[in-house]
Structure formats: structure tokens, C-alpha cells
Amino acid sequence: SQQGEEDPQALSIQEGENATMNCSYKTSINNLQWYRQNSGRGLVHLILIRSNEREKHSGRLRVTLDTSKKSSSLLITASRAADTASYFCATRPSGGGADGLTFGKGTHLIIQP
């Protein structure tokens, strides 16, 4: 079942601007992850934030997590043309059992040169 839902579905900005994407989910999670997918390729893991963390940085990426609102945001600062891709959030439910992730449908980001 699809748990994460990204917003917006598509986003077009100018190079150099910041891009913000949001993700909402429905059930309690162990962690939330963000992935990037270039057209026609596999997904690349960007960053993981655990349920007890509120913010995490990696290079030009900043991820926040609000477990009370069941939402996360991904900020890409100083965007570049190479950031053009689809971005997916994925959640791992809390509790034991499977390590399977549930992915959202993605935000398609276009960086205009």
C-alpha cells in the first residue's frame, strides 16, 4: 500500500533557487528516507532520518521530520540543472518484521537553466 504522498507532484524552478518537496504519511514509522531517480534509471538513496530526529543535513540537502504531523520535507539549496529528477520519500513502519519500504509517487523536479 502507498503510504508516503509527495507534494507537489511537479515543481519547476530556476537554477540557483531552492527547491522544497513535502511528504506526508499515515502510520507510525521507524525512519523516513528520500531517494532520487533520474529518467529511466534506478533510484539513488539520498538521506535517511530516524523517527527520533527532527532535522538532518547532507551537503545541499536538508530534511525535516515532524512525527506529530506525520510529514517530512526535503530542501535542496542552490539548485543545479543536474538536480532535475524525480524525488521519492519512503517510509519504514515501526515495529519488527519486514524491512520493506513503502514509497510515495514522487515529485518531478525540473531545474530551468
Binding site: 500500500s1 502507498q2 521507524n30 525512519n31 528516507q33 531517494y35 529511466g40 534509471r41 534506478g42 533510484l43 539513488v44 538513496h45 535517511l48 530516524r50 521519492f88 519504514r92 519486514a98 524491512d99 520493506g100 519500504l101 513503502t102 514509497f103 510515495g104 509517487k105 514522487g106
Partner: protein, 116 residues
């Protein structure tokens, strides 16, 4: 450079054929996964495996089976291909959760399967 390798980038098969999609990882990961990706539907989990000879159904296992005879290889089998199985298939692997630490997935480049 660690890798998940899917044997084919593009495949065209006929309705009713038995289709094998192969995935190999070189990271000694216990967990392996098969997803399919369709426009407007995102990624949906078909099957996953914790270990050799172990398999678990995901959200959409109907029409598929899997095989994990060796740790590094996870095969997806379409028993009798149908046109509604035309899709992008993505394989992924990850280490198991250990001591409360979880890890991201490493994905292969995908196999775009067309069933005609």
C-alpha cells in the same frame, strides 16, 4: 563501487511466455526486493527476501514468483506474462536492521519489460 546489477535494461516478451528477471548484488546484503514502477502508481513491492531460500509476499505478488538460491541473486519470475505486467521492474538490496540501525536501499538500474 558497490552494485546491484539487473541482467537486462530492456526486454520484450510475448503474452504467455515465462519470463525471468535476474538481479545480482555484490554487497553481501541479506535483504533483497523486487518492485514494479508504473506511471501514476509509483513503486509497488512485489516480493522480498530476508535470506537465502526465504521469501515474503509484498503488496502485489499475484502473477509473480521469486527464487533466492544464493545470497547474491534474487530472481523474479513471471509465470505466464500478460500485457498488464508491462512495467519497469526495479531490484534493490539492503543490509538487515541491526541494533536498531536501518539502512537505505541500493537499487539496480531497472528492467523495462514490454509484454506484447
Amino acid at each position: 563501487d558497490v552494485k546491484v546489477t539487473q541482467s537486462s535494461r530492456y526486454l520484450v516478451k510475448r503474452t504467455g511466455e515465462k519470463v525471468f528477471l535476474e538481479c545480482v548484488q555484490d554487497m553481501d546484503h541479506e535483504n533483497m526486493f523486487w518492485y514494479r514502477q508504473d506511471p501514476g502508481l509509483g513503486l509497488r513491492l512485489i516480493y522480498f527476501s530476508y535470506d537465502v531460500k526465504m521469501k515474503e509476499k509484498g503488496d502485489i505478488p499475484e502473477g509473480y514468483s521469486v527464487s533466492r538460491e544464493k545470497k547474491e541473486r534474487f530472481s523474479l519470475i513471471l509465470e505466464s506474462a500478460s500485457t498488464n505486467q508491462t512495467s519497469m521492474y526495479l531490484c534493490a538490496s539492503s543490509p538487515p536492521r541491526a541494533q536498531g540501525v536501518t539502512y537505505g536501499y541500493t537499487f539496480g538500474s531497472g528492467t523495462r519489460l514490454t509484454v506484447v
